[in-house]
Amino acid sequence: MTEYKPPPLPSPFTHTTPPPTLLTQGAEAHLYKTTYLTPTTPAALKIRPSKPYRHPILDRRLTRQRILQEARCLSKLVREGVSVPAILALDWEPQGQEEKDALEGRAGGAWLLMEWVEGLVVRVVLERWEGWMKRNTQMGEEQRKGEESRVRYLLRRIGHVVGGLHKAGVVHGDLTTSNLMLRPTAAGSSVEEDGGNPSMEGEVVLIDFGLAGHSNQDEDRAVDLYVLERAFGSTHPRTEPFFDELLQGYHEAYRGAVSTLKRLEEVRMRGRKRSMIG
């Protein structure tokens, strides 16, 4: 078995000093941290490498289609005022880096530079909170209520953002707590933790629109909510009782919520026809 080596970076990132730092690698895309225009402006670089197993023409078509789909969704959401990372730059067809790419007419993948979002993903925030709650079983009723209301408020804000997303006619396609971030607000809000209990202040930002698309179907929106609900249920069982708070926030931000929530009932009833445990 050969050691995994990420594919070479496309142009122009071959010149970048210092080289972009690899953060995550999914099946489709690699996420790097780098800069934009100036060395002090951080940026997230998403690269969809060319897939050598595919026919070059098909590869070019799919890679291009997908990076553009993602970029268009982000661009639309930015204009609509939904909290998502801004697009900084984009190339859906950079030249291939290797000679054989050129011979095959294969593009060098595609890339998208996005605004860097500071903060933590909601999954981590909630994991830390759950850990802290577990360690502090002796807390009084009042304090427990206080803790719960912090989580409720966070869920309500998440509902607002998801409502804004759907209002803009976009569905995310992969709404999990790993694709929600909590960005500390500039106005001096503290990210400091109180003995391991994380701050829940800040702006909720949606990230990773790799599977997103435009849709005005209740079904698609309901599936978005259902996936999110399951993510809370399976990853953060302590927060599950408060999911209604999220739906409440959703309702406040999005007028079409009534029919989507009705559809959500159906999607729940139908259940997942298969279990997806990873």
């Binding site: 078995m1 050969t2 050691e3 995994y4 080596k5 594919p7 690698q25 999914g26 099946a27 489709e28 897939k51 050598p52 197993y53 595919r54 026919h55 023409i57 098909l58 078509r61 799919l62 396609g173 992969d174 599977l211 298969r274 279990s275 997806m276 445990i277 990873g278």
Partner: protein, 352 residues
Amino acid sequence: MIGIGMEGSANKLGVGIMLHPNDGSPPRVLANVRHTYVSPPGEGFLPKDTARHHRSWVVKLVKKALRDAGVSVKDVDCICYTKGPGMGAPLQSVAVAARMLSLLWGKELVGVNHCVGHIEMGRLITGSTNPVVLYVSGGNTQVIAYSSQRYRIFGETLDIAVGNCLDRFARTLHISNDPAPGYNIEQLAKKGNKLIELPYTVKGMDCSFSGILAAIDGLAASHGLGGQGKDDESNDDDDKPTRADLCFSLQENIFSMLVEITERAMAHVGSKEVLIVGGVGCNERLQDMMGIMARDRGGSIHATDERFCIDNGIMIAQAGMLAYKTGLQTPLKESTCTQRFRTDDVFVKWRD
């Protein structure tokens, strides 16, 4: 321990005999015989004809398997048969035969899930311990990974199976069904080189093929390529695809989809191994593509040859015996078969 496996969920009738040595050494295939019902070009296999084929061949195959294995009836511990999924009538013929042998010889019955049979045989032959499994055949298209006592389905077709898509396009072109329509498409595709644009229908880890079949059938019709034709035709017209180009494009398109959903599942569960099983898994182009993907992820691909990829009896024996050893038996009363039987319905007691 010796088990007989009987498979007949589609147009292949298979009987296999497997030995699991008592000293714990690796299982040995003692016999693996098969007879295929081949329908004429342009036609699929109908359930009643296929069932008739199975009924008329099953006794011959069991006798031949026992002869090949050099074992006598008294050495046999259990009779494993395919409970489902598959075509109703052919499944029934084989289930009836298995029941008859069980009563005649006084042996226990073990009902086996066909998909689990493929997975267990693939694991045994390739030595791959915990792979992501792509199961691709005429009736099934699933991406599977094992987790806490189940083979979980991460992705699957939302309409027809990938093999069904290939088989039906073979019918459109009146390509021979001997030895298999998919095999003949693969050979013809080797002569194609022009990629025709087709729908690419992947959603997350699921995919669908009926739209692609409709599109390529439409292309064949509009270029007058359907029906009986010469496969070695040459073509001076640059814009007009040949039959070979259509087969090539169909394969490139649908296999890319399969590799993509497999890769997504591998990333999701953090696995580097992939195992391809099922009849379509014999396709060398699919194996090549999957190999490139796996290598790029620092992993490896496992595939088997036609003896084990294509439906067979020995895989039923293998999966059945693993279950039998954990105490599972199928009482006569419950020895039914079923057309629908999900892979994740099986409790996999034999794995950790």
